[in-house]
Amino acid sequence: MDTSEEEELSSKMAFLEKFMDMDRRWVYLLSWIFVLAPLLYPLGLPIPINQEAIKWYDTIDKIPNGSVVIFAPMYGTSGMPELFPMTVATMRHLWSKDIKVIVVTFWTEGPLVFRTLLTQVDPTSYGKVYGKDWINLGYVPGSETAMSSFGRDIPGTVSSDFIEGKPTTSFPIMANIKTATDIDLIISIETGTPGATEWLRQWQAPFGVPMIVGCIGVSVPGMAPFLQSGQISALLPGLTSSAEYELLLKKPGLAVAGVDAVSMSHLMVVALVILGNIAYFATRGSKGGKK
């Protein structure tokens, strides 16, 4: 190898090493571009429908008429970018059917999340009457203890509703609702604790109430044992599955709009990791290369 070749090789190695030690702010900038660009200029990438969304859709779609469902937005404002689209889509689906819905949350910001939903979805447009077809019981403080108490005695734990402040028992929807055994399904959309495991301990195990869970991506691995055991009947993980569910409902919304950004950000991470490894292997054996 002559001197010029050595110099060229050395400059290539220097570049690769520089790339491997790239300042994290460049990665942040790239992330920002890869997320923002598809939001501003949607790519309209195809979205294949997967089993999770189909199971979620089927579970809700097959709820028998007249059933009573607990709908629990168990998250705060920080979870809204990822979970709000599935919250909206699920409520649209529920209100399009002849099902009684009891909204309750054990997260302080849960009622505010649901109030935001009401600004976007009008239950009266589905012919639903407050107090007869659905009711909002608001936030119940006390985390898992409150969930247990709520299961044992629903009107005893929440004595008045959240929207009108009237006694819970004065609403027709609550006429036959006393304990968890009167509930046919729990739908928990959540970011953490209290959430699925607390529902499992205080509702699913002691009362046998079926439940389905919508959660953020990072919570998904922890749900696997409960999904496999059948304790959780369906799981809707993250924004991509929300987009698939919106497509199944034929009501594309916030999730479909955001899924291009998910794809592009994932593409960027994969590309960076692969390039980083190529650089790592190329420089590993070189003089002064990373070991």
Partner: protein, 219 residues
């Protein structure tokens, strides 16, 4: 009398009694015990509700002290104090005087400050994850290579861009989720549950006193 009340046995007995009242009805239905458990749970709900005020007082004390002492970053404490007070006042459930969750100030703070700021704080994680993945996912040895390959496959199985291009990405991702991930999580869950049972038994027997008097030294 005061010496009697200070005895360590009293909180231990209270813990044992109240724990058993909650645990037994979970497994065996006995009407009076079930009623007692429900009744006690409502005490807890009341206590938790009251503790919210303790939280507010604590925030006011901690940040009030920061401001009065002009500690480092005291101006952030001013922001916390101002918004704690404003949000609490305008959010009071007094609809007849225009307060509560329909109040315009409350709605403005919620819709245009709390919601975007909280979402932003959560979304910032994406930047750290991208940077961390770039740095940490290097095939330095066999273990790191397994993590790298599994991680990349999971990332690709969750992005429609990849699953449309090659559908088996989704199948592989589902397998990783349902088999190795599930097995690991199940082991962790069962292990933690066994640890909790052991802790509960020790607490009920009065052996575990870590929750008493900062370590439960014998008095």
């Amino acid at each position: 009398m005061s010496n009697l009340l200070r005895r360590i046995e009293i909180p231990i007995i209270l813990t044992i009694v109240f724990t058993l009242v909650q645990v037994i009805p979970y497994y065996v239905y006995i009407q009076p015990l079930d009623d007692a458990a429900s009744y006690i749970q409502r005490w807890i709900l009341i206590l938790v509700s009251l503790s919210t005020f303790v939280g507010v007082i604590s925030i006011l004390q901690v940040h009030g002290k920061n401001v009065s002492k002009r500690s480092k970053g005291w101006y952030f404490s001013v922001i916390v104090l101002v918004f704690t007070v404003v949000m609490a006042l305008v959010g009071l459930p007094l609809a007849e005087v225009g307060l509560g969750d329909k109040n315009l100030v409350y709605l403005f703070l919620f819709n245009y400050m709390l919601q975007p700021l909280s979402g932003t704080m959560y979304a910032i994680i994406a930047f750290f994850i991208a940077s961390a993945a770039f740095r940490a996912f290097r095939a330095r040895n066999i273990e790191a290579s397994i993590v790298l390959v599994a991680g990349l496959l999971m990332v690709m199985s969750n992005a429609p861009l990849f699953t449309v291009f090659w559908p088996p990405f989704k199948t592989i991702g589902t397998w990783i989720f349902a088999v190795p991930n599930m097995a690991t999580n199940r082991a962790i869950t069962i292990g933690a549950a066994l640890g909790l049972i052991a802790l509960a038994v020790r607490t009920l027997m009065g052996i575990e006193r870590g929750y008493l008097r900062g370590g439960g030294a014998e008095q």
